[in-house]
């Protein structure tokens, strides 16, 4: 769906927001539509993406991993090589630049794993904007390196202790801040979620991933795979390839297994509902209360998902699978050892799926996996997991 005027992808998306925010999202949409095709804006964004963030990113043929699995050729779209270590910078540069054009002086953001917070802090430092980031208490512990990085970048980090103390609650708190400071503040949302126009805007800024894949592959890949939390790297990968016949697979976090109840696989196990300004699939109980989620990767630990993914699931254009924590650790180790690349645990979900599907494909076929981030931030979590599970391995 190119630009859904009412912000709807089928029945999903829309704007379920407190009235105070309506003028703010209207102003945002108006500014976005004005600048997205503006020559100077595009030129400036291209400049920052190239000279500051390090685009284009390589499309690396993972020869050793391919040989080890013995199936389709596996290519890695190396978003992990971007400045800051994740795809998040594609979106934060775009939105921070937009905020500047809108003459907003104060930027707020939420973060889960801390990658979006870091990418926001970086983009805002580069563009001279003041940033404050909300992060769930649980995430500040398991991703404390990123908290420190944000502090170093001159960004204030608020610890959120309400609810499940993860990404969902960080978004709640950022929305409350936005309601309170609506006139001065720009909310720089990090995923393709939230009220219209965020899902479309974030998708557009992330679409550079898929556009480059299209240019870099000699022929369109048979399969593309990306991990899905909110789903920004996945929609950025898929959207430019939508009109091809490429098979697309989004991979959610199955945590300790879909039947265990400890997972974040919204599309695989959720039902329709309204959260954070959008209608989408959600993990919720029988009463419509949002469930607490679990994933070894903080960035996927979210009970909702971008509304366009909900639409693509129902339309059956994209398949949504999931990977368990154990499969993810295996994939993390395999990529590290065969290729010398430490993937973020989020991205390791996509690797885990690639390992599963490559086996079943012909050697002449190709898979592109979006490696959305690097895993340096996760080494402690992985070490901890390996120590606890030493007997099982």
């Amino acid at each position: 769906m190119k630009y859904p005027k009412d912000g709807r992808f089928g029945e999903f998306g829309g704007r379920y927001i407190p009235e105070t925010l309506v003028p703010a999202v209207e102003e945002l949409e108006e500014s976005y539509l004005k600048f997205k095709n503006d020559k100077n804006f595009k030129k400036e964004l291209d400049y920052y993406l190239r000279e500051y963030a390090g685009r284009p990113t390589p499309l690396y043929f993972a020869k050793n991993l391919t040989q080890k699995i013995g199936g389709a050729k596996i290519y890695l779209k190396r978003e992990d090589l971007l400045h800051g270590g994740a795809h998040k910078i594609n979106n934060t540069l775009g939105q921070a630049l937009l905020a500047k054009k809108m003459k907003k002086k104060r930027i707020i953001a939420e973060t889960g794993a801390g990658q979006h917070g870091v990418a926001t802090a970086m983009a805002c430092a580069a563009l001279g904007l003041k940033t404050e980031v909300y992060m769930g208490y649980k995430d500040t512990i398991r991703q404390k390196l990123n908290v420190f990085r944000m502090n170093l970048l001159g960004c204030k980090v608020y610890t959120v202790k309400s609810g499940s103390q993860t990404l969902k609650d960080a978004i709640n708190e950022a929305i409350r801040d936005w309601i309170t400071n609506v006139k001065t503040t720009y909310y720089l949302l990090g995923s393709a979620v939230g009220p219209h126009p965020y899902p479309v805007m974030v998708r557009d800024f992330q679409s550079i991933i898929g556009k480059e894949i299209k240019q870099q592959m000699k022929r369109i890949p048979d399969t593309v795979i990306a991990c899905v939390g909110g789903g920004s790297n996945a929609i950025g990968t898929f959207y430019p390839l939508m009109d091809t016949d490429t098979e697309m697979i989004g991979v959610e976090a199955a945590g300790q297994g879909l039947k265990s109840g400890y997972h974040s696989a919204t599309l695989s196990a959720g039902s329709k509902g309204v959260l954070h300004g959008m209608m989408t699939y959600l993990l919720q109980d029988k009463e419509g209360q949002i469930k607490e989620t679990h994933s070894i990767s903080a960035g996927l630990d979210y009970p909702g998902v971008g509304p366009e993914h909900s639409y693509l699931k129902d339309e059956k254009r994209v398949k949504y699978h999931s990977a368990t924590d154990a499969e993810v650790i295996d994939a993390f180790l395999m990529l590290t050892r065969t290729e010398g690349i430490l993937p973020a645990l989020e991205s390791a979900h996509a690797i885990a799926e690639a390992i599963k599907v490559a086996k079943k494909m012909k050697k002449s076929e190709s898979i592109v996996v979006t490696l959305s981030g690097r895993g340096d931030k996760d080494v402690e979590v992985v070490q901890d997991y390996l120590e606890k599970n030493v007997k099982n391995r």
């Binding site: 009412d6 829309g14 704007r15 379920y16 927001i17 407190p18 009235e19 105070t20 309506v22 003028p23 309400s162 609810g163 969902k168 609650d169 709640n172 929305i175 409350r176 309601i179 309170t180 400071n181 609506v182 006139k183 039902s271 329709k272 509902g273 309204v274 959260l275 954070h276 300004g277 209608m279 959600l282 919720q284 009463e287 419509g288 209360q289 949002i290």
Partner: protein, 268 residues
């Protein structure tokens, strides 16, 4: 004529404005909710807003967030809430409005939820995250059951939108007094004074205008009534009182606080 409409008519004949009190159902337990309701009625409150908790209350400040968490932890469910409302309805004819978030209604199904609420004795709904653009199915379900739909507007809502929202609203129109979440004590802002006057002019007596968010004292109530609010809504202040009051004194304390607020709603 709905219970809410009747109430406003009755008040107007007495030259009084409405005092609306918000409490969270099941906070800290259902018995306390019953005692609180009795206190509110004795204290002369005109309309009661019952909050039903949602896990992610984005329009609420810490006081109502905490009450939501506690109420959910106490095991409140939609069915139990409806039973509680039925019990309250046996004792009183006061208008009862349900305040919760869209997903609670959507997940159950708008029609199913609204008819359940109607049967229990609820007169109308306030959903702070339901915007007018998304409200078609909700409105249809509420109109079918002749339930009131109370929409919110804000000091930054455009005139055009206010008119559109007022048209879809019944019972009263809920003007959010401040930029912020519930329970924020900011004092009365100039922009709020202007907003009340503008909105009153715009709706021109077609629907009462209630003002809420950040209103916590008799002085606040007095000022808002003087500016022209048709109803004044007090929520977090009641919850703070419930938090610190032992259960055997709850009814009394609530009623005396409510009385002190209600005294200020006479138009002098």
């Amino acid at each position: 004529m709905s219970r809410i409409d009747k109430k406003f008519k009755e008040l107007s004949s007495k030259n009084e404005k409405a005092l609306i009190a918000y409490i969270m159902a099941g906070y800290p337990n259902e018995k306390a909710t019953l005692s609180s309701v009795r206190g509110l009625i004795k204290g002369g409150v005109d309309i009661i807003e019952l909050g039903f908790p949602f896990s992610d209350p984005i329009a609420d400040g810490p006081v109502i967030q905490n009450a939501s968490t506690r109420s959910l932890a106490g095991g409140i469910k939609i069915d139990r809430f409806f039973k509680l409302v039925k019990r309250i309805r046996k004792e009183t004819d006061i208008p009862l409005v349900l305040m919760t978030y869209t997903n609670i209604l959507y997940h159950k199904g708008y029609s199913k939820f609204i008819s359940g609420a109607k049967k229990a004795g609820i007169d109308g709904f306030i959903l702070p995250d339901m915007s007018i653009e998304e409200s078609a199915n909700y409105l249809k379900a509420a109109k079918t059951k002749k339930e009131d739909t109370i929409f919110l507007i804000s000091p930054n809502t455009s005139k055009k939108r206010i008119q559109k929202i007022a048209k879809a609203s019944s019972g009263f129109l809920y003007l959010v007094a401040i930029y912020g979440t519930t329970g924020m004590k900011t004092g009365i802002k100039n922009y709020t004074v202007k907003a009340i006057r503008d909105v009153k002019k715009l709706v021109n007596g077609k629907i009462p205008v209630g003002v809420g968010f950040g209103i916590s004292s008799p002085q606040d109530v007095k000022k808002y009534v003087k500016i022209g609010a048709d109803a004044v809504i007090v929520g977090s202040a009641f919850l703070r009182l419930i938090e610190k009051t032992p259960s055997n004194k709850l009814e009394l304390k609530i009623s005396s606080f409510a009385k002190s607020l209600k005294r200020q709603t006479r138009v002098s």
